[in-house]
Structure formats: C-alpha cells, structure tokens
C-alpha cells in the first residue's frame, strides 16, 4: 500500500525590497526621498561638493551675479552662494534630524507612559502638554531660545535644537498616546502584567514597538518643520550666527539689504529651504500612506 502525497504547488510572490516597493507604490514620496538623499550626500560630502570654502571672503567678487565661476552668484562678502547652500544643508539636516528625533522620541516615550499609567499621571502629563500645545511652534521655540541663549557644541547650537524639539514633543505625545491607549487594553499586555514584568519592560518591549509607525511618520514630518524652524530662528537672529552657513541666515542680514541689487542672495537659499521642506513633507505623507494598513486596503 502506498500513500501518494500530492504536494500543492503554491506560487510564492516575489518579495521585493521594501525601499523599492515604497518607491513603486509612492512615486511622490520616492521623489521626496531622492531629494533628501541628495541633500544628505551633498551635506556629507560638502568639502568636496562645494566649489569654494563657504567662509572665504572675496572682496573682489562682491555681489557677483551667477556665472561660470560662481553658479549661484556671490553675497555681499564675495562668498560663493552655491557653496554656502551646500554647507547650509549640513546645518539644516543636522539641526532638523536631531531636533526632530529628540522631540519625537521624548514625545513617544511620554505618550506611551501617559497612556500606560493612566489616572492622575495621565491627567498631569496631558495638562502640561495642553499648555505646550497652546503655543505655536515658532513662538514657543523663540521663547525657549531667548531664555536659554546659545550653547555651541561641535559647531551645533544645542539650545537651538532643544528650542525646536520642545514644541514638537506634545504633538507627537498626543498621537502616540492615542495609539498606546488602544494597545494597553490588548490581552498580551495584560498577560505581560500578569507575568510580573516591570513597567519599563512592558512599555519598551511590548507597547513601544507597536507605536513605531505613527512615531516614524511624525519624525519624518517634523524634520521639515525643524528645518523651517531653524531657518526662521536664524532669520530672526536667534539661531546660528554669521559666518556659519545656514539657509535661514542667508535670507536675513545683508541679503535683506541687497535683495534688489543681488536677488540671487535670497532666491537660491529660499529655493533650498522650500525644496528641503517640500521633500520631507512629501516623504512623510507617503510614508504615512504606505505604513497605514487602512489606506493600503
């Protein structure tokens, strides 16, 4: 007696790389990602990518219009605008990413803790968040930077990062808390509690991984806001100071004096800010669409 086993042949779908899949399904997000990656490459390779030292003053080339020698012209100190934009990407990305990461991560942790503990803890945390949320991002950032002043470490103003991160914190906290409230009621969290796991373990091992999607989306979206906030604060004279290359700073000061005589001094940094912010917004929106199962269906 023989037993014949008829194997059922399943056609296993070809598994594509996540990035490739994202790029195919979200072409606008992919375009944003390409711009972000290009910005990152230029920022990382600025010493090689920039045609001139962004700090070198050349009084022989003051206010020179765009030309073969200076693609995007020069400013009132004869500094190459293209080089300053390339180096300015470093400032924008460094401050944007660090501030966004700091604000989003702290917001996520506080949001999950608030949802998990509930009761009075939740009430107090939400009260504080309500106060922070009552201020527009830029107003709160201006207040924080005015109070803290400047504290530069390795060429980066730490207080500026804190000033930009604080207004982001309550916004992320609210969204993550909402997700965590639903997760808190799931049986596996009850099981973890019954097994005697510590609060820290439950929060970081069992709840946090399940709120990663909204966290990542907000993190990406807030990079754009952080870049804009840095540019705004620098424009207002509260961010980085001359001669550090910064997109916002390039729009203020002498640029405001010479915008009629040398419009390239404000046009190109303005384009850089717009493009950077637009790219992060596109990428963030697409990432949300891609990660959200409801939208996928």
């Amino acid at each position: 007696m023989s037993t014949a086993i008829n194997a059922i042949a399943y056609k296993v779908p070809k598994r594509r790389h996540a990035v490739l899949l994202f790029m195919m399904q979200q072409p606008l997000g992919a375009a944003g990602l390409v711009v972000i990656v290009l910005m990152g490459i230029f920022a990382a390779l600025a010493p090689w990518a920039a045609p001139y030292d962004p700090l070198t003053v050349d009084y022989g080339a003051m206010l020179a219009p765009p030309s073969a020698g200076h693609w995007l012209g020069t400013d009132s100190f004869g500094r190459d605008v293209a080089s300053r934009i390339i180096y300015g990407a470093r400032t924008a990305l460094a401050i944007g990413f660090i501030a966004s990461f700091l604000g989003s991560t702290l917001g996520a942790v506080i949001g999950v803790a608030s949802a998990y503990f509930g009761g009075k803890t939740d009430l107090i945390i939400q009260g504080v968040m309500d106060v922070l949320l009552s201020f527009p991002i830029i107003v709160l950032a201006i207040t924080v930077v005015a109070v803290l002043g400047n504290y530069v470490v390795l060429g980066i103003d730490v207080n500026l990062i804190v000033a930009i991160a604080i207004p982001m914190l309550p916004r992320v906290e609210r969204v993550v808390r909402a997700s965590a409230l639903a997760i808190r009621e799931l049986p596996y969290v009850d099981a973890a509690r019954a097994a005697g796991y510590s609060h820290t373990r439950i929060i970081f091992r069992h709840i946090m991984p399940n709120v990663v999607a909204p966290y990542l989306i907000l993190l990406t979206a807030f990079v754009a806001q952080a870049i804009l906030a840095e540019a705004s604060l620098s424009f207002l004279g509260l961010g980085v100071t001359e001669p550090t290359p910064s997109w916002g700073l390039m729009l203020s000061g002498a640029a405001a004096d010479f915008y009629q005589q040398a419009p390239w001094m404000i046009v190109f940094p303005g384009i850089a800010i717009s493009l950077g912010v637009f790219a992060f917004n596109l990428f963030g929106d697409s990432l949300r669409d891609w990660l959200d199962p409801k939208i996928k269906l």
């Binding site: 700090l55 003053v57 009084y59 003051m62 400047n150 530069v152 004096d257 009629q260 005589q261």
Partner: protein, 525 residues
C-alpha cells in the same frame, strides 16, 4: 543710483543753507526709528545711541553744540560762561526760571549734584564719565544761578566737555532721595516730557509747555519706534517713520533715495565712531602682547575699508583719532604703526611668527559682537575672515545690546575678545583715548589692562595747550597703544542720513549723539 544719491546730498546741503531762512512751523508728531532699545535710563551710565535718541529730548545740559556750526558750542541751561586766565576756573551763569517737568525750579545746586554724581558716583551708581571730570577739584554754588568749577590742573577739553550730550542735568532733590533715581525714572528740564515707553515697541515724548525757550519745541511730541534692519528701511521708504538719526548703509541710502524720490534728503558726514577690538587682557592668551599684536597685524585695514565701504557704513582707515581730524595721525605716520602696513602678506607672516612664539599657533577664541546688523555684523565677519588667514579659528557670538554691553562691563568679564565701539560726541583726544587708559582710571576700558606709561602720556597731552606739542605726545601715546594692542581700531565709520523732506531744523554732525534734543526740529506739513 550712487550718482543720484550724491546729487541729492549736494542738494541737501544747499537746502540746509536755505533752511535757516525758513520759518519753523509748530505742531505735528515726529515719528523716527531707533534700531535698539535703552538698557536703562541713566545718562551717566550710557554710551549708546539707543539711549540718547529716545531719551535725550527729556533733558538739558549746561552747554550744547551748535549743530549748524559744529564744533562751535552754545549755551543750553547756561546763559553765559567764562574761563579764568590760568584755565583753572570755569564760571557759568544759569538761565532764570528753568523748570523741571515736576514743576520745581532749576538751580545751581542741581548742576552741582549732577556733576558730583558724574565724577564721584555714590555706591551702586555707575558713571562712565568719571575720567572726563577727574580734573575737577571742586564745584561751588555761590548763588542759585551761578556755578563754579575749579580744576586741579588745566584740561584742554574741559569746556567742550560741558557740552556733552550725556551730561543730563538731574534734580538735586531727586538724587538726594535716591542716587539711582535716573535709572528708572525720567525727570528733566528738556523740551519734551516723558509720555510712555512700551518695551519692544516705542518711546513717546510730549511737548513740555513750560520749556524755558519760548516757542520751542516746535513739535507737539515725538514717537521713537524701536525697529531695525530691513523693516526699518521699509518703514522709512513707506513714510511710516520720517527719519532715523544714527545712520544708514550705502545700500539702504540708494534704496531709500529710489523709493522716496524727491521726498528724500540725504546728508553725509565723517563719523567720530570706530569699531575697535578689545582683548580681555585678564584672560590667557590675551595677556600676552605678542598674541594681541599678531591679531592686529592680521587685519588688512586698507583693503577692508575699501571693500566694506560699499556694503557697510564704514569708510576710513585711522588710528586712535578720526582720520581728517587736526590731531589725528597722517597716512604716512599710520603706515609705520603695527597693523597699518599696506604689505599685508608681510604683516601676516609676522603675525604667524608671533603666535608661534607665544605658543598658540592654532589659536581659537570667541568674538563677542552686538546683534545690531550695521556695521557690527559685516565688520565681525570681516575680522573673522582676516584671522582665519593666519590660522586662527574664531567663534562669532552676537548678543542683544543689553547682554553685549553687560558682557564687557561686568567687574570680572569672561569674554575673549569683543567688537566694541568707540563713538564720541566730538573729536577730542581726551575722549577718544579714554578707552586706552588703565582700567582703574577709565570705566570704558573693557580690556582691563593697567599701563601707567599710557596714563602718563594721556595726562601730558590733556594738559598741553600748545597744539604742536600735544600732537607729538598723542603720537607717542598712539604708537605705544597700537604696539601693546590692548584695544585695536579697525575701520572708522561714515555717517549717512536719509530723511523725509518734511523734517526740518536738524543738521548732521560727525556725531550721532549731538543735536538730539529735538528742540529745533519741526515738520514742514
């Protein structure tokens, strides 16, 4: 554009001549811009236009400058004055019936109390003009309308010192109640009473009906609006404010002339103002003269002046005194001083050698600067670039006016180097050289050094009435000051004022502190 500005300037001077014949009109409120705010209200402690432009119209001084004939002086609260033959006694007769804003009557006692406070400030009161009046031995008040100043020694600058716009006359009664009264209160005899101050917004003055000069002031009041940078230029271009009394950049001048057309009046003048770099000599390595001199040698003043004059309100290269002034060094003399050679490559080679010799070939430090764009930012950027060329790495710290001044003026300052200003109300070595006197003799010496050689030379020139001999002593002083480089001059300023044609009765001078009581200003509307 520049040609049109020059033509307008020429027209402005022609208009200025014709203005004398115009009959002033009464009424109107003058709105003008001030690009920074006063840190406190005490004349004795102030050095900034941010104070004098909004606050000076509330006060009078003993004498004042005749702005149409600068540097001539005329009486303000003093009706007449005389100097003894030996130059050691000054007697002032005061005007009768001068009232303070609270209705009390001015007397010689108020003059005495004000000058005693300036030369010997009581504990807790800060006077930055102690050195100016250090030669006064006694102040006497033989009657309510006579005040006599007796000097310990002759002082070539004393009479013009009494025309200082900083020496606001305060009420003796108020000072007796509280020597710090002027820090938080406004109460003078000036043409305008205090009507309000909204921090971050504006300062308002109202016509003082009991002002001693009948018919003056012509204006009903004024509003000093605190606004700076591009918004200020926009406000001028739109006619929201009619003037700004400090000075505009060449770019702003061109833009305003274009925007205002025939409504613009441009006045230009050399400026008794320079930006100086002050090294904190209490901190290493700035206690080493070689380091300070190296940093001075690295600056290409001639090239910088030529380039920066196109984008900033600076123009001339000079030593410790304004180029063009009778007692200033000639260009030939300047070229012999460290940091003034036209061979910048040789100077920078020497600078690198000195830094290496001092053990700091890769020096890094912070330059404390003011966050007033013009001309602080362009000159700050210029200096940082100059120092980079000898391998020095400089961090730029731009602070709001109050913090910027506090950083330099505190008892134990922690700044490394600061871009300070040396602006005075007139060309006078006794004023311009004060920054270079030892710290214990000059509260405006932020470099903190003690140098008795400079102190002695200062005293010699101050008491020397023979101009040639004084000139020679000043050269000695200048040479030593630039060699020691505690504080080094960079580039001298050039003053450009663009006003709405309706503003009359105001004349440009080489100082933005002088002529700001607004008593003679009127609006042609």
């Amino acid at each position: 554009m520049k040609l049109s500005a020059l033509l307008l300037s020429a027209a402005a001077f022609a208009v200025a001549g014709a203005m004398a014949a115009e009959t002033p009109k009464t009424g109107g409120v003058l709105k003008f811009a001030v690009s920074a705010e006063p840190p406190n209200f005490d004349c004795a402690a102030q050095t900034s236009f941010a104070f004098i432009h909004p606050i000076r119209p509330h006060y009078n001084t003993l004498l004042k400058f005749d702005t149409a004939n600068y540097p001539a002086i005329k009486g303000d609260l003093a009706e007449s004055w005389s100097m003894s033959k030996d130059g050691l006694t000054y007697t002032f007769k005061l005007r009768k019936g001068v009232k303070f804003h609270d209705g009390s009557t001015l007397s010689s006692e108020d003059i005495r109390a004000t000058y005693e406070r300036l030369r010997n400030p009581p504990p807790g009161v800060r006077s930055v003009r102690q050195a100016s009046y250090a030669d006064i031995d006694a102040i006497e008040t033989p009657d309510p309308l006579t005040v006599v100043f007796r000097l310990k020694k002759r002082n070539a600058a004393m009479l013009t010192n009494f025309a200082s716009p900083w020496d606001c006359i305060y009420s003796a009664a108020k000072l007796k109640q509280d020597p710090k009264f002027p820090e938080r209160n406004i109460m003078g005899t000036g043409p305008f009473t205090f009507a309000g101050y909204v921090a971050g917004s504006h300062w308002t003055g109202r016509r003082f009906e009991n002002y001693f000069e009948k018919g003056k002031p012509y204006l009903n009041g004024y509003v000093a609006i605190f606004i700076s940078g591009a918004p200020m230029v926009n406000a001028l271009a739109a006619g929201e404010v009619l003037t700004e009394f400090r000075g505009q950049s060449p770019a702003d001048r061109d833009r305003l002339v274009k925007a205002l057309g025939d409504k613009a009046v441009v006045q230009e003048s050399p400026w008794v103002c320079s930006l100086v770099v002050t090294f904190n000599t209490r901190k290493k390595p700035f206690d080493d003269a070689r380091v300070r001199r190296a940093l001075s040698l690295a600056i290409d003043r001639w090239g910088g002046a030529q380039a920066l004059s196109k984008v900033a309100l600076v123009r001339d290269v000079g030593g410790l005194l304004r180029p063009g002034y009778d007692l200033a060094a000639s260009e030939k003399e300047l070229l012999t001083y460290p940091g003034f050679s036209r061979d910048i490559n040789a100077s920078r080679a020497e600078a690198r050698r000195l830094l290496k010799e001092a053990g700091v070939p890769n020096l890094s430090f912070a330059l404390t600067n003011r966050n007033v764009a013009m001309p602080y930012t362009p000159v700050g950027v210029f200096l940082i670039d100059q120092w980079r060329q000898i391998g020095v790495n400089v961090k730029h710290e731009q602070l709001e006016t109050r913090l910027y001044l506090a950083a330099q003026q505190r008892d134990n300052p922690t700044f490394d180097a600061a871009l300070d200003f040396n602006c005075d109300f007139m060309d006078e070595p006794n004023l311009q050289l004060q920054k270079y006197l030892s710290r214990d003799r000059s509260p405006i010496n932020y470099a903190q050094q003690t140098d008795r050689v400079l102190d002695d030379l200062f005293d010699k020139q101050s008491g020397e009435l023979d101009k040639k001999k004084r000139y020679a002593i000043i050269r000695e002083f200048e040479k030593r000051a630039l060699e020691q480089a505690y504080t080094i001059p960079t580039i001298w300023w050039h003053r450009i004022i663009v006003q709405d044609r309706r503003v009359k009765g105001w004349n440009i001078t080489p100082s933005h502190y002088v002529g700001q009581d607004l008593a003679d200003v009127w609006l042609d509307q």
